[in-house]
Symmetry: C2
Subunit: 353 residues, 2 copies
């Protein structure tokens, strides 16, 4: 068994020192380091914004029992994912991440070692995506563990892309593949049930599912695609796919005052996602529409700009087209039937969830 040191043994200040040590080594970016005038160890962090850049400010929380389950998410994965979901929000504005504050609300079951692992995962993501942890807050919690990250990024103001700029006639496109993250979650939930039923002799072979588990546990924010979209072509709207494709299409349409049609035939699915959905006798298209937590980028642009983009990457797919608001938001099935696309997504306040 892993060592379990209760947080009460080191106290809040002991914990802060430990976090400081882990985060000190987090990145080699000299700019981010020299612009950070004060990091962990004062009432607040202080940094210099880059001249002429606008600041992008986001926050995203993860609640145990709602967004994650400690029986199948390791603390390192949680640290990674908490950073990744916030970095993805910055990518979805056309920006680049800079400084993060991490708040952890920790019930007694969480040990000092677990907090260290959490930060190890967070720092791993920070190094990969050029971000510095500049502070935060740690507090006791009486219920479940909660992680809340806030992140500041930057962009040239002319490179910002909002949800509200989609134009009638735009192509609707997405990066990567969809549905795979939810497929990974389905496998993890099944293995948890198996574990609870069988307990002792439990040693599942998860190797075949690995890419799907990784997509769920360690999603990759698409800063690479965001950079192409903002530097090499002109796109009209942009959002990240955190709540399922259906929800995100609705966000773009509502904010832009337009409608859309999305073509089932075009939805990018990978083999691992398809195979897992089949194992569960479910439809991978439903995972793509309603599953969420993909952290791919959904965007709209003209045909001309798409032609330019296509020559630069093979990692984007045309999903549909923006139409007049009066035409609504429709999903066109492979056989041509038109269904209204409902944004049920993953709304954790709904009673049926």
């Amino acid at each position: 068994m892993a060592t379990f040191t209760p947080i009460s043994r080191v106290g809040e200040f002991g914990l802060i020192n430990l976090i400081k040590n882990i985060t000190d080594i987090q990145t080699d970016s000299p700019n981010l380091k020299s612009d950070l005038l004060m990091g962990i160890s004062d009432d607040a962090a202080v940094f210099k914004p880059t001249a002429d850049k606008v600041q992008i400010f986001t926050t995203d929380a993860m609640v145990e029992g709602v967004h994650f389950d400690l029986t199948y998410s390791s603390m390192q994965h949680l640290g990674w994912k908490a950073m990744a979901s916030n970095i993805s929000d910055i990518a979805a504005m056309g920006g680049e991440p800079r400084y993060a504050l991490i708040t952890l609300c920790l019930p007694q079951k969480i040990s000092v070692e677990m907090v260290e692992e959490f930060y190890t995962g967070a720092v791993f993501a920070c190094k990969k995506y050029n971000t510095l942890i500049a502070g935060g807050d740690t507090t006791a919690a009486s219920g479940n563990m909660i992680i809340s990250v806030s992140l500041i990024g930057e962009a040239d103001s002319q490179k910002l892309v909002y949800r509200n700029g989609a134009k009638v006639g735009d192509l609707v496109c997405v990066s990567g593949t969809l549905g795979t993250s939810h497929a990974g979650l389905k496998v993890l939930m099944r293995e948890k049930r198996n574990f609870l039923e069988k307990s002792e002799s439990f040693s599942p072979n998860l190797e075949p599912y690995k890419p799907a588990l990784e997509k769920y546990l360690m999603p990759k924010p698409r800063l690479d695609i965001a950079k192409l979209l903002t530097n090499e072509v002109k796109i009209n709207s942009l959002i990240d796919v955190s709540d399922g494709l259906a929800s995100e299409v609705h966000h773009i349409c509502r904010n832009s005052g337009v409608g859309a049609e999305i073509w089932e035939h075009n939805i990018p699915i990978d083999n691992i996602g398809r195979n897992i959905a089949e194992e569960f006798s479910e439809n991978i298209i439903d995972y793509a529409l309603y599953g969420g937590e993909e952290y791919e980028l959904l965007f709209t642009l003209t045909d001309e700009n798409y032609a330019k983009l296509e020559s630069l990457t093979s990692d984007v797919t045309i999903l549909g087209r923006i139409v007049d608001a009066s035409k609504g938001i429709y999903f066109i099935r492979e056989q041509g039937e038109r269904e209204e696309l409902t944004p049920r997504g993953w709304d954790h306040f709904k009673e049926n969830n």
Copy 2:
């Protein structure tokens, strides 16, 4: 009884619209509004920093059952206090607040109406302290309610004041009075016990305790004093008193590599705090040293600068003096006994709390 609309009835997006409506009216500051390029309704907020200013970035969380109790804190008070504690962190760097993101993790017992009240209180603080709510995150929670606010402020870099600049020979000073917030909390805890015991015929007269309850429930971040300290005189170190005087003196000493002596005789106490402590047969000095949540400012400066400050405000008091690190951190009792000042403060991870 107040109306109780479950959040599941309006859903996450209904809740966001409601929050948008309340926060839209939050301030009249034209600068903050025109510099906010994107507020609530995209993946992130976007704002323009003021040219040549450094950015101050802080976050502070409040956990039900650890930091607050819904039986005696109204949602409006919580909204105020969540903003105030973050604004106080910005004041404690010598800065001014600008944009806030609010994250609420809401268990089922929290209604739509309660969220509205929370935001009403938060907006009230924002109007008073010239801050805009620019976004956030709302999520379900399975356990207790959690509030996490992050806040961006600004300062001229030459006006920043850290914890680490205290010099041997500096006077140690504090704004306002100490111990009163903890006195207010003691009254509220007693009334809760009385209520649970007597229930029906319960109608306490809290009028005589009002200033103490207000200090606990609606603390005032000292932006007024911070402005004096950074514009009119030169101070060497600054921190806000959130965890009790003893803890904060230790923070300044540790970060500055100095010692201090604090004189009991000088600690500023008000009548209401003193009377409440007497009612509980306790010592108001203990409340001041270890009680916390005052949000007054603790700072150090030379005698010359203090003389200048004294002519500008009567709301600061000399508490002691910075000494060499080798002399330690001592509390000098009224009769002259020297005791080591222990930073036990309010460490909610400690087992004895």
